[in-house]
Amino acid sequence: MPGLLPAFLQILTFRLSLNAKRAPGSYESELLEYPLKAIVAPSFFLVLFFSAQALAEVTLALGPCVQAHVVNSEEKTALPDSSLTLTNGTQQLVVDCTAMLGRSSDDAFPKTGEAFVLLFEAADTELTLSAPRIQTRRQMTAFNREKDFRLTNAAGTPVNYHVDVLEKEGFQVFRDYPGELEAFNRTSSPAAIRMQLPGLADADTDTEGPSPKAGGQSALGQGALGQETVRQMLHYWYLQADKQTRKEWKNWIQSSN
């Protein structure tokens, strides 16, 4: 209820402004009446609006080794054992897990597993995202392969999610996670959010947007926007493009692979 106190103060301010209006012979109150109403009234509704919004949120607690890098397309670092506040709806995160691996503290060095994209739906709930206990390189390899995150609500009930590896070849330092996620979302991975192509709203009306249910498939690959349409459009627009645009397009394809 973080918005209730400000809302109460705004109501009080509004009431005082109305009382000021009724004060007989008060010229100042007349002068103040309309500006106050103009400012206070909308802000009152704004406060109520945001108070309502404050309730409509998801709290996501990260487990001991889970670190977030991108939260709903925005670059945002959240450390292990911390929590994130998300707005209700579809959630897409880039996370990884770092553990000290080795049979002794002297031998142990930090090892970061694959970067994963997680996609799930959540509203008005408290969730926990954790990875299995990882103590050996074999366990890290198995985790990278199995991608067995545990996403649970406050009651401990598992919440369905899609997960996939955010692959990056070449230099692994200073990764551009938001840029990589943007390219990832153009793939047919179940964890990708379907790109809303401009001018294609009509063709897309018979689908219900991203549907991150366990075992589901990406809407981009399975929805109304079929691969045949995609193929035809790519062919069409490629023929329309000039030499420079084609070159840029090829470079983009190269960098996206």
Partner: protein, 324 residues
């Protein structure tokens, strides 16, 4: 300093660092770089010891591998240490490990300059031990890595087996390995209990004398603490003397960022005139929440050793460690 097995539970505390060891990865090729920088302000156990800056670890570890397909991987390691250069004003680095090998599924074979199998043995949790070694495998003179070493590692889910053989090659230099070494190490995890055993047979060059060293250890993770003990023995074949050492150590996770360790070790020998030595220590390690592979630590230690008829003074140290 060597901290084995007991630290497994400690190391399970995950690091919250963005630092990934992998630098480059493409088409089955991987290059990883790790580092371990540890510098201490230390006043060692002894009589009238001066405080000084010590470099316990200043290491850069390079690892490359190629995925050859069908679960086969070729790998190589090149580790450089700089602590002698920093401490003794030597030029350049010290090559600590240099080996190459093949890994198939859970089995890897490597050869070159590397640790012996028994180097994995021991449970002590001290940052520094002064009057005794961490265990008797340290005292066997194998602290220096072998440079003609063949080694096989088998890493299963709950069992870890290592065997190594140091060839009787002609080495030069002050820190040369003398003779042949045959080593074996096994560790078994049974739920929260870890049992380990190690054995080493040393045949010094140009000598009929051989030396057997063996040890056993156990550690148990109680959740709030980890308790461990080890026992090792050196038996020199042409004498009747045995040297024995035991260690006990406990690590408490007093907070998610803070570990406290206490421990002691005792060394005794049948040799005439040898008086047993007991050294104890207590240390605290704080890992920064934002980057848990960065830690500060402090330790106090003492021993019942007497020098010139006088008891030694307590030692203490404090330092900073960065790992990546």
């Amino acid at each position: 300093m060597k901290k084995i097995l007991l630290a497994v539970a400690v190391s399970s505390i995950a690091a919250g660092s963005a630092s990934a060891a992998t630098i480059y990865e493409k088409d089955g090729f991987t290059y990883k770089l790790n580092g371990d920088f540890q510098v201490q302000m230390r006043q060692a156990i002894g009589n009238d010891e001066r405080a000084e800056v010590e470099y316990d670890d200043l290491e850069l570890k390079n690892y490359v591998s190629y995925d050859l397909g069908n679960d086969l991987t070729a790998f190589g390691r090149l580790d450089f240490g700089f602590k002698k250069a920093a401490k003794d004003n030597e030029r350049g680095s010290n090559l600590e490990e240099a080996y190459i090998g093949l890994k198939y599924n859970v089995v890897s074979f490597s050869f070159g300059k590397q640790n012996f199998a028994s180097d994995k043995f021991g449970i002590e949790e001290a940052y520094e031990l002064k009057t005794i070694g961490g265990d008797l495998f340290n005292d066997a003179g194998t602290d220096v890595n072998g440079d003609d070493t063949l080694r096989i590692d088998v890493e299963l889910d709950n069992v870890y087996i290592v065997v190594s053989h140091e060839m009787d090659a002609g080495d030069d230099g002050e820190e040369r390995i003398d003779g042949e070494y045959h080593d074996a190490f096994i560790a078994i995890d049974i739920a929260d209990l870890t049992l380990a055993a190690a054995y080493q047979l040393n045949n010094p060059a140009d000598s009929a004398e051989s030396r057997d060293t063996y040890g056993v250890s156990a550690s148990y993770d109680f959740g709030f603490m980890n308790l461990a003990a080890d026992y090792s023995v050196i038996d020199v074949n042409n004498t009747d003397f045995e040297t024995k050492q035991y260690n006990i150590a406990a690590v408490f996770g007093v907070a998610s960022t803070t570990d406290v360790a206490v421990g002691m070790g005792n060394q005794d020998s049948d040799e005439n005139g040898f008086e047993d030595i007991t050294e104890w220590y207590a240390n605290v390690t704080y890992k920064f929440p934002r980057a848990r592979n960065v830690s500060v630590f402090a330790e106090v230690a003492n021993s019942d050793l007497e020098k010139n008829g006088k008891e030694v003074d307590m030692g203490m140290l404090a330092g900073l460690r960065l790992k990546f």
